[in-house]
């Protein structure tokens, strides 16, 4: 398994036009690398400081390490309850 499973939620999912993407793990070391790869030419994304991140379903920072087989998610501040 040499890929990273990337998920998007809420308005970030809408901006990307999809809820999930698999990317090649080659060259990926941390969450920020994943974001740069998927954000690519996608316009209208919120500033990275306002994006929340989870790695393997636990909250993580943009500099958290990421390996092949990991699940990474990007989403806006949560509004449940």
């Amino acid at each position: 398994m040499n890929t990273i499973d990337v998920h998007f939620f809420a308005d970030i999912r809408e901006r990307f036009g999809k809820g999930q993407e698999f990317i090649d793990a080659e060259g990926i070391h941390c969450v920020k690398d994943v974001w740069r790869r998927v954000a690519g030419s996608c316009g209208g994304l919120p500033p990275v400081a306002r994006v929340l991140v989870a790695v393997n379903q636990e909250y993580a920072a943009m500099d958290a390490p990421v390996r092949a087989g990991d699940e990474v998610a990007f989403f806006p501040p949560v509004t449940g309850g």
Partner: protein
């Protein structure tokens, strides 16, 4: 016990069922604290006609379990009940119920408050409203 539901539910019936599933609790608690959140037909200055709730399957259950466990570590309580909706909701529909049973009221109130407050700031849910002015993603208050 944590449950996520795609369909409308009756919080009071769920609370009753939870207590019935635990007959060994009879006489063990002297207090039950309950929080029920439901959908208003107004928000941030606009009438709301409908709402959809998106969540992160897997991570949501994990975090609600974690918050329930944290509450049980901090206060002497019986197993809390946490039920949260996702999918389409109409005004007045219940969104969430948190019920906590304990020997004493202070632990019941504190644990119930802790669970709903932590749920609101950490559980990965996102509200999307239909209003008279169009649709919008709700931002945290």
């Amino acid at each position: 016990m944590v449950r996520l539901l795609a369909h409308p539910f009756d919080p009071w019936a769920e609370i009753e069922s939870h207590a019935q599933r635990n007959p060994q609790w009879a006489g063990k608690f002297g207090a039950a604290a309950v929080f029920v959140g439901s959908l208003r037909d107004f928000n941030q200055g606009h009438a709301v006609s409908e709402m959809s709730l998106e969540h992160y399957p897997g991570m949501t259950e994990k975090h609600l379990d974690k918050v329930s466990r944290e509450a049980a570590e901090r206060w002497e309580i019986l197993e809390p009940l946490v039920i949260h909706r996702y999918g389409q909701l109409k005004p007045a529909d219940p969104i969430v119920v948190v019920a906590v049973w304990s020997a004493h009221r202070d632990a019941a109130f504190c644990a119930c408050r802790y669970i709903i407050d932590e749920l609101k700031t950490r559980a990965p849910f996102w509200k999307h409203e239909e209003t008279e002015a169009g649709h919008r993603w709700v931002t945290p208050e």
